[in-house]
Amino acid sequence: MLYFRGCTAREKQTEIQDATERLLKLAGVDYHILDDEKCCGSVLLRTGFVKEAQNQIEENTKVLKGEKILTSCAGCYKTLKEDYEGLDVMHISQLLNDLVNDNKINLKKSDMNVTYHDSCHLARHCNVFEEPRNVIESVANLVEMENIRENSLCCGAGGGVKSAYPQIADEMAKSRLSQAKQTKCEILITACPFCKRNLENDELEVLDLTEFLMKYGGVDETE
């Protein structure tokens, strides 16, 4: 399996790459990464640079074709699945769900209350709703926000808004965080590095699904 880290988990939210690799090792997944991994082109496609995105797609397709691809990033997942042709791609939340169901990872459930933010790319756009929830519920109590699944509120980062209009992205993150706080959860979980990046704040701990499992799932790496 090829673990396609994505630019955010590879360069900015490296804790996500770290947690993901530790989980893969723990579950005995045979995987490799690319030393010269290239941007999938998602940011270019969403901001209108289609010609430039096409270059990324062509270059990446040469390397990715024929591989079983795993992504951390909901944006990479959508792009590799919908904007590329003929790739076999899955999101980490789907793989984790399989691993949990097949008892490949031993997790311990606590009575911690957590909530989950559906990323637009993963949920509304690609219909991945259940898998991350199943994984979370094997470890903690999931308390849902007012807007969930296909009705989930966008965190504010997508579509190039975070770079072009950071104040709008911040304002939207505040709305989403206020919904999260209303659940009285202890942790807000996402399955998208870019959502995590936008939602991070000083009051409520925000973790990627992989980090959450590593930190609170009771995993034993010495086994």
């Binding site: 270019l44 209108g48 430039e52 966008c154 997508g158 579509g159 770079s163 304002e171 709305s175």
Partner: protein, 397 residues
């Protein structure tokens, strides 16, 4: 918009959401929704035939009809009519299309808004763009509104909705005593019957339509095959805009006021308008993307749009608010206007489409428009830098 206005707007939107979400999923409204989807698709596919049929039907009904290719054309037609009637004051109903052509900015005469929300915004004078197609002043609190009314009308009302309404109503009626011309839009046009359907709760459109001359400006996208279709469209609009099945009033105008009660001789202008003039406006619509023209103006997209909830009417074009308004601005105006209206403010999240009764794929439309916009050089500088980073380093960072 000020933070307090955004806060009030979000509260108003939550009320609308609660009301509309309780009825939009019931079986009869679901059937109505799919019926209107078919109607709008059929109307687009047969737009030329329906346009010609509407022209014929209007003529048969003694409604004068004029075609305006641009805003300027529409304004010239209106100028000529107002000159003919020597109009000093005109009664105006709420209309996004009249906002689109910039009627108020263009005319030097006294235009009186008859819709309470619009009248409040008119009295506010500055920074007075509407925030919702049917609830234009949903961002203003009752005390802010009292302040606006007191300052502009030289009165002293308290922050009491009823008191405010009564003061504004009597002032509007007094000002309209001498008005001989009313102007409005239309919510839907029935081609077969040559009828114009208008929905309202205040009764104000009735006032406008009872003036000697009633001018109606409507986009060519408002034309549907029949009166039943037009009623379906406005009912769905009402449901999604307000959460109610119907408005208090639904005016169907199919000709000037007339009687033949004396020896069967036709007389005009019994109570209502002696003359009805319809201006059918293109203004970029014939170049617009099909799905953009499905819009029935309910505003449910902006009520659910997280960007709109964060920034308000800065995201949108003129009276066309939110992402779909941004898309229309390209056709009504140009690429630069589209950029400035917020082409890149959209996070492409897709909540608008999910909540649109016509499922207009606004995020896809905007994503495609960005390609065309970057081609002609209108894109945020930050995105240009990111593109360069990817090109040089294979990473946006």
């Amino acid at each position: 918009m000020k933070p307090s206005e955004l806060e009030t707007m979000r509260k108003s939107f939550n009320t609308v959401k609660e009301r509309s979400s309780s009825i939009k999923d019931i079986p009869s409204i679901k059937r109505l929704t799919s019926r209107v989807q078919e109607i709008k698709k059929y109307s687009f596919d047969n737009k030329d035939e329906l346009f010609n049929q509407a022209l014929e039907s209007f003529k048969r009904n003694d409604i004068e009809v004029k075609f305006a290719e641009t805003s300027d054309d529409a304004l010239h037609i209106i100028d000529d009519l107002l000159e003919e009637y020597d109009a000093k004051v005109i009664a105006k109903a709420k209309s996004n299309t009249l906002g689109e052509i910039g009627l108020k900015e263009h005319l030097n005469i006294n235009i009186i808004e008859t819709d309470l929300g619009d009248r409040i915004l008119q009295l506010k004078k500055v920074d007075n763009k509407p925030v919702h197609p049917t609830g234009p002043a949903s961002h203003l609190s009752v005390s802010e509104i009292a302040g606006i009314v007191n300052e502009s009308l030289g009165v002293d009302v308290g922050p009491e909705p009823k008191e405010i309404m009564e003061v504004v109503r009597s002032d509007v009626l007094k000002r309209l005593e001498s008005a001989g011309v009313g102007i409005s839009g239309a919510n839907a046009i029935a081609a077969e019957e040559g009828s114009l359907v208008m929905v309202h709760n205040e009764g104000n459109i009735s006032i406008v339509s009872l003036k000697d001359l009633h001018i109606i400006v409507a986009g060519i996208d408002k034309i549907v095959p029949s009166l039943e279709d037009a009623i379906s469209v406005v009912k769905l609009e009402t449901t999604f805009a307000t959460g109610n099945f119907v408005t208090s009033y639904m005016n169907v105008i199919s000709g000037p006021s007339k009687t033949a009660d004396i020896e069967k001789k036709l007389l005009k202008n019994m109570y209502g308008a002696e003359r009805v003039v319809v201006i059918l406006l293109d203004n970029g619509r014939s170049e617009a993307i099909e799905e953009c023209l499905y819009c029935i103006g309910c505003g449910n997209c902006i009520v659910h749009c997280p960007v709109y909830n964060a920034v308000g009417n800065e995201f949108g074009f003129n009276n066309y608010l939110g992402g779909r308004g941004v898309a229309m601005s390209k056709f009504i105006e140009d690429d630069e206007t589209c950029f400035n209206s917020g082409l890149y403010m959209c996070t492409l999240c897709g909540l608008c489409t999910l909540n649109c009764p016509l499922s207009i794929p606004t995020n896809e439309i905007l994503e495609n428009m960005r390609k065309l916009s970057t081609d002609v050089g209108f894109y945020p500088k930050a995105h240009g830098n990111i593109m360069e980073n990817v090109r040089k380093n294979n990473s946006p960072y």
